[in-house]
Amino acid sequence: MNAPNVSGMLMLILPEVVLSVGAMITLLLGVSGADAGRSHRAAMAALATAVVGVVLAIGMLTGAPLAPGTTFIANDGFRWTLTALLCAGTGAAVVLTEAYDRRAGVARAETPALLLLAATGMTLLTAARDLMVVFLGIELMSLATYVLVAMHRTSARAAEAAVKYFLLGAFSTAFLLYGIALVYGATGSMQLEGIGSAVASGAKLPGLLMAGVALMLVGLAFKVAAAPFHLWTPDVYDGAPTAVTGFMAASVKAAAFAIFLRITAEAFAPLLADWHPVLWVLAAATMVIGNVLALGQQQIKRVLAYSSIAHAGYLLVAVVSFSAEGATALVFYLVAYTLATMGAFAVLVALSDGTDRPLVRQDLAGLRERHPWLALAFAVCVLSMLGFPLAGGVGFFAKWQVLQAALQASVPQQTLAIVLVLSSVVSGGYYLGLIAPAFMQSPVPAARPIPAPPTGVRAIAIACAVVVLVLGVLPSSLTRLAQRSAPSAFAGGPTVATTIQP
């Protein structure tokens, strides 16, 4: 019981400190100063905080070689790359929610503050190496997101979505927590490292350990919305305020995958043979279900919700590959996916009329004539999600990386790769169905005039599209970054994957 190395610890959790302090400043700005513009000042403070977070993470990434982390907090490329990504996503979400709330007439300072608090939890999840910290991070992220979904209190659909999300989220947290308890009972450790070594040295209570691992996987699968634990996703994504949906689809999912990968890599690696088939089935089912069900949807947000389920499936393929290549592919894919999702949702925010009427495909009709740049950005982002070569920019390479990882894994996953390719082809049906009205149909007169989209929203949409395209031309820079960003557990080259039964 020695005195903690406080300054060393503070360096490791600097982004969380910055984000949570920023959240508190944002909250204070929301209750001080002139009434008019309070929410705007708060949003600006939150944006600044997120930018500081990005700069900080990039600074750590490019600065001096990383010192080894502690048993609570990791200090590797994976942590800092994803922290930068999540902070950037949060910054975009701050701008989008502010514009969206303002249009709906419910802008308030708590929204950016809650976004920052959620970001605190999310960045923590990229680094957590202790199940206690994992749990607190997930709770922090989830609690803030539940509230964000319910933020539009006059909207019955948002309330329904929030209740569904809260109840199912609490349910999945219970699974996770019970799993954590059983794993602790079986291994006597809360730390991923300790669990890993206890498991490797032969668990004393294999049944208990298996049960714990299974329950934890169920809890995590809920959070990443993998089939068959995806049922909440369409309703929640549909009912939540559009900007918050974007945040959930992009950043919350990325954070959940970050901790998913770290837990499987650091704690459960010796059990690979046991959980591998389970995740294999999950990945295949998620890809197929997400893509097939998306075909029949009319509302844009529901289409994107099912699309996000499908993407969870692609990302699970990267996890299932279980190698340094898989981790690289995961990071690469998360960057591409975040950019595309944020860009697409920025366009949807620009098109919303301030009511909670669900957007349908008809609302996109004639977008090319009304907002040509937004139409282009939307097309690029959606094509990127599809993984279309060239026009889809970096999205194509993201899928390519995942396929490579699956095929080059120590036990090649040809079947999964085939499922991935086939379901991607299916996804073309609904992605092109989103783009077609924007370019092929003439605008229908809107029931309510839609005000010109704010500059911030337009900037995000176009910036995302541009970055997608640029990275599509120069994917190697992102590949190099992603290769530096595999979790430290994979640093020692290919691991125990040899134990998989083909």
Binding site: M1, N2, A3, P4, V6, M9, I13, S20, M24, L27, F72, I73, G105, V106, A107, R108, E110, A113, L114, L117, T120, G121, L124, D130, M132, V133, L136, G137, E139, L140, L143, A144, Y146, V147, A150, M151, R153, L182, G185, A186, G188, K204, L205, P206, G207, L208, M210, A211
Partner: protein
């Protein structure tokens, strides 16, 4: 474990399990909540038997004394408490599912014990001390300082969320 503790262990275990069963089978929210309170009490007895009187006392203080009181308060405020008012939401299907899940978890725990004649001593044997708070405080403010501080942020989030969602709407 001396003989006396063994008897107390069975007493509190039976109380815990019995109360928990009553908790899930009662129809009215208020009786169910009270059985849950009873479960918490019996659990705290088990904690005391494990040489963790601090956890035992806090268990009663937090769960029975604070959380359940607020729960009962809300049930009463919304006047939901009477069993006869509305049909039981848990249909026969729900009850069966719950039973199956419960049985599965029980089977799982039993299976987990299979093959292990004696549970390994994972719980560190505690030394008896006159100051039961100090060891907890030591751990909390050194090794688990990060988790402790994080908890405060989680609570802040919950607080902000509750206030935002429940506050009477004023002119924005």
């Amino acid at each position: 474990m001396s003989d006396l503790s063994r008897y107390f262990f069975y007493l509190f275990s039976l109380l815990t399990i019995g109360s928990a069963l009553a908790f899930v089978t009662r129809k009215g929210p208020v009786p169910a909540a009270l059985w849950l309170v009873n479960t918490m009490f019996a659990l705290s007895g088990l904690y005391v038997l494990l040489d963790a009187p601090f956890v035992g006392a806090v268990q009663v203080l937090v769960y029975a004394g604070a959380i359940m009181v607020v729960f009962v308060f809300v049930v009463m405020l919304l006047n939901l408490g009477r069993a006869g008012d509305r049909p039981d939401l848990r249909g026969i299907g729900g009850q069966l599912t719950a039973g199956v899940v419960g049985a599965a978890l029980l089977a799982l725990l039993l299976a987990a014990r299979r093959g292990d004649a004696v549970l390994p001593a994972l719980v560190p044997s505690s030394t008896s001390t006159s100051n039961v708070v100090e060891p907890v405080a030591q751990l909390l403010f050194t090794d688990y300082l990060l988790a402790f501080e994080l908890t405060s942020i989680v609570l802040l989030t919950a607080l902000v969320g509750a206030v935002v969602l429940a506050k009477r709407r004023t002119a924005a």
